[in-house]
Subunit: 215 residues, 2 copies
């Protein structure tokens, strides 16, 4: 029996994000009482909550979310658990040595989700400041393997955000980055990942409902 | 070889929707030039473009998008093509007689997508006014079959919108309604539907990236 596992944090009015990003508002625009039906006005950053980055996020000549082939958002995926049954401490550097034991999974086009256990901090102030952080050496190693998608339970891969995104999103690498996943402790090593972005024409990213299919 | 077919219209700044609904804005909040990366502020109705209705859309005590089990958004689906190789004229009533030849597919929990050909009008002013429209008798017949999901290429099932939504969304029926699909002419009769809503806590609907998997 196939099982679907929700990998997405809820979206709610006023949730925090990074300092310079647009904030989320979720407003009841009309209601059953006012007009006969409930309808909502949602405003958010293209990078709110569980979301996806396209190369255009950091490169003006990079692909936008609507230009990426759908099979980069769907298919067989592998969990790389960096802290099985536990979690990494705040600000832990994620090094090449931590990924190398899983090297066989880092194949061309592969979808890799790594788990640090940081999603447990989603409601804490330190979620956006103290997350375990990919070293640039590890980012370069991952980029060199030419995987297709890299997901994680931290709000962004690295405190060295500009350099890291440049390494992962640059032309010829163009890894889809999925940030802010949850429930990774419920995943087997192999599963099917589904995380299609909204069809936002010409834009840099989108919140997604990421779901795993296991069997 | 599995094929993914995009069933979702693009989302763009200023696109039309129904008169009383919040409008869509897609604004470059910062850019590579201003701050080092492109990031977007998106504001839209929970019912913009290709989207999904939860029972809470019309019933205050109905399920919200985050309360519906994930398997109602994913799984085997059937195309009911009401105009094979062609399209229905504006304002065509969709009657029970048009659905009955497909009755065997309308089983408990089934996911049914019907095609009228109206998605070709997506960029025309009449898209939101002159669409083929489900009769209430047909809506009652569909509700009586206890299917799980009903999708269509029109912006809403019926001009008698309040009565029709009440029939489809009421307690004990609770059909997930997926509105504004496209590319239905590319679908085989049987396919896998994927259309998970954003995890909007406590709300009535959400734009989705609906995708079909065929093999």
């Amino acid at each position: 029996m196939a099982t679907l596992i929700d990998l997405s944090h809820p979206l709610e009015h006023g949730q925090p994000n990074f300092a310079y990003d647009p904030k989320i508002s979720v407003i009841a625009h009309n209601t059953v009482t006012s007009i006969g039906y409930n309808i909502t006005q949602v405003s958010f950053s293209s990078h709110q909550g569980t979301h996806l980055d396209a190369p255009f996020h950091f490169f003006d000549d990079g692909k936008t979310v609507d230009q990426i082939p759908l099979d980069q958002f769907y298919g067989p995926a592998t969990l790389v658990d960096l802290a099985p049954g536990s979690f990494l401490k705040a600000k832990t550097p994620l090094t090449v040595e931590m990924f190398k034991p899983h090297a066989k999974h880092f194949r061309r086009g592969a979808k890799i989700i790594y788990r640090t256990g940081w999603s447990r901090k989603f409601d804490s102030p330190e979620f956006f400041s103290d997350y375990p952080t990919l070293t640039l050496e590890a980012a370069r190693w991952i980029a060199s393997r030419r995987i297709g998608l890299l997901g994680m339970d931290t709000p962004t891969p690295s405190t060295e955000w500009k350099e890291c995104h440049h390494i992962l999103l640059k032309r010829g690498v163009e890894i889809v980055i999925v940030e802010g996943l949850k429930n990774l402790e419920k995943l087997p090593v192999h599963f099917t990942f589904m995380g299609f972005p909204l069809n936002l024409k010409g834009r840099d990213g989108a919140p997604i409902r990421a779901v795993a299919l296991t069997k």
